[in-house]
Structures are given as structure tokens and as C-alpha cells.
Symmetry: C2
Subunit: 204 residues, 2 copies
Amino acid sequence: MSVRLSRAARRAQLVDLGVRAVERSSFDDLSIDDLADEAGISRSLLYHYFPSRREFEVAVAEQGLAGLLEATEPDPALPLDARLRESLAAYVDHVAARPAAFVSLVRGASSNPDLRAVVDRAHEVVAIRVLDGVGVAPEAAPPLLRVAVRGAIAFLEEAVVVWLAEVAEVAGPGTDPASRDALVALLERMVLGAVAAAGTDLAR
Amino acid sequence: MSVRLSRAARRAQLVDLGVRAVERSSFDDLSIDDLADEAGISRSLLYHYFPSRREFEVAVAEQGLAGLLEATEPDPALPLDARLRESLAAYVDHVAARPAAFVSLVRGASSNPDLRAVVDRAHEVVAIRVLDGVGVAPEAAPPLLRVAVRGAIAFLEEAVVVWLAEVAEVAGPGTDPASRDALVALLERMVLGAVAAAGTDLAR
């Protein structure tokens, strides 16, 4: 039992190091050798915990996205409109703090197709949050509303990626609060617009 | 000179076969061996025309997306709103006729990261079309409008993918015109909404 626990702890340590390494650079630049050095273990021992680089990347992506989902958790104490806006602002800020990690993950720049499934599961969590926000049980959501909500999530992701590449980078991250606020307002309008376009009124 | 021409013609034939093969199945199932058989050449000769599978996939994706861009070319004879609607309807119909090819390409299900760049270039063509439709020169587009337009294109793509997976497939492609029309109307509202949300009025 203690052996299994220590194995879990070692895995968690390696995933933590992996998340930090990806946040410093990106998924493409993740070096298993450097990580093993950092953890003070051999590369072969790292592969003992994660049988393949692919599996390790999946664990790192899952933990990274869990951090994003936690940071953007809607606050039920807020009224509906503020809840959405705060969550979207947290999304932009969280991503802007680790742009290369986010872009390399959602753009599938890595050649690891398993990462797509990890991103997809995070999208599904966000979709359930949005449906929850408009008072629709996910399993009862009309097909067009589900289509609209998933489309809106793709909008958020792409808009933030393009904003990071073309706007934030020019000014340097965090240097233009007006641009950040305009982006958050755009995202909010698009989520509300998607829900409304699918025939569900958010303000019910 | 005739040797070079025949090389170009042979490449074109192989890319055509590749597009048809991908449309029958998907990028993941593309078999170089089967294609070589179909073209009546050896696998090694195919690699003479395309030094790597990666390069061949890129050529196939470029031609497939060129077909999509051609099918959705806005008709300048139509008024602005009809032009957008017709183009979006053509998009949905073109994709619905080759769902697996489209999904495998835009979802990056293939492990070929070069395909992302091909899809990105097609997005950029569509972005220029939308900006053109609202009378904005691409190089003069305000940053937030560019962000909104690229976001809207991501919306279109994801909405069609989810619709194909969750709605069209249940009914069978092409069996529910009401669902197809509702999707087209949703896409239209979202493109118009994105442009409006970024502060540009499409109906000027």
C-alpha cells in the first residue's frame, strides 16, 4: 500500500513538473530528459511511471485544463450575467498568463492526437456549465442548443488564441486592460448570442 | 519539359485519388498502399512523387479545402444577406456530403501537425471574405473585428462538426432539411452577431 502511494505521489510530482514546464514553453518543447533531470530521476524511471511520452502529455494536459476549469468555475453567489462575465474574465486572464501552453494544446500543434480528447472533455465540462447557467439539463438540451453552445466554446477558444497572437503580443501581456476588457465583452456577447440564437433566453 | 509536365500530371492524379479516398473514409484511414494500387503504381513510385506521407496529406488537404472554398464562394450578384446565407448553406451541404473527411481534417484527428497550417490558411481566406463582405480591407480591420471574425469561423466549424455528430447522423445525412435550415440560420446569426459585437454594422 505504501509502495502504491509513493508511486502515486511520484506521478503527481512529475505531472506538476510537466505542467510547469509546459507553462514556461509549450507542449512541443516539453523535454522528458529535462524533466527527469529536474525530478532527480533517470529518464527510464520516468518511463516507469508513464509508459509513453503520449501518456505523460495526456496527464499534463488533464492537470493543466483542470487548473483552467477551476480558475473559471462560475460563482453561484453572483447574478447570472456577472457570473458569466467573471468566468470569462478569469478564462482570458488564466490563458494570458500561459499563452504558449494554451495555444499549443488547443491548436493541436503537438503531434499527439490523444490531447484532442482531453481538450474535448474540457469543452464538454464548459458546455454543461453554460447549459446549467441557462437552466437546461444537459441531457434535455435541444440539439440546436447543444450545437450553439459547443460552437460558442470554439469561438471563445479561437478568439483568445487570435487575440493572444495579434493583439496581446504586440502590447505585451497584461499591458492593455482596455483590450482585455473589450475581448471579455465580445466573448460575453457571443455566448449570450449563441444561446439566444438557438432559441433559449438566458435572462428567463 | 514533357517529363516535368507528366510529373505534374501524375501528382495531380494521385492527389485526386487521395481526395476521393479521404472523402470515402477520413484522413486517418488514408492508405498509401491502396492508393498506389488504385493508380497502378508501386508504393515506392508514389513516394517518388511525394517524398513523405505528410507531404501527400498536405497536398490532399489543400485540394480538398480548395473544393470547399470554391463551393462556398460568395456570389457577388446576390444582396449581402442572401450572399452570406447561400455561402453558409453551401458550406453545410458540402461538408455534410463528406463528413468524416471534414471532421478528421479540422479536428486534427490525424497526427500530421502540418494539416493545421493548411486549415489555418483556409480560415484566413474565409476571414478575408467576411471582412470583404462588411466592406473592411483585411489590413485595415480593427484588431477586435479580426478576433471576432476568426472566432466566428471557429464557431461555424465546431457547430457543423457537432451537428454532424449529434444531429445529422441520427437522422442520416440529408434526411432532415428543417434541421439543416435551422443550422444555417444559426450560423448566419452568429457571423452577423460577431461582426456586430466587434462594432461593425454589416447592414451599412
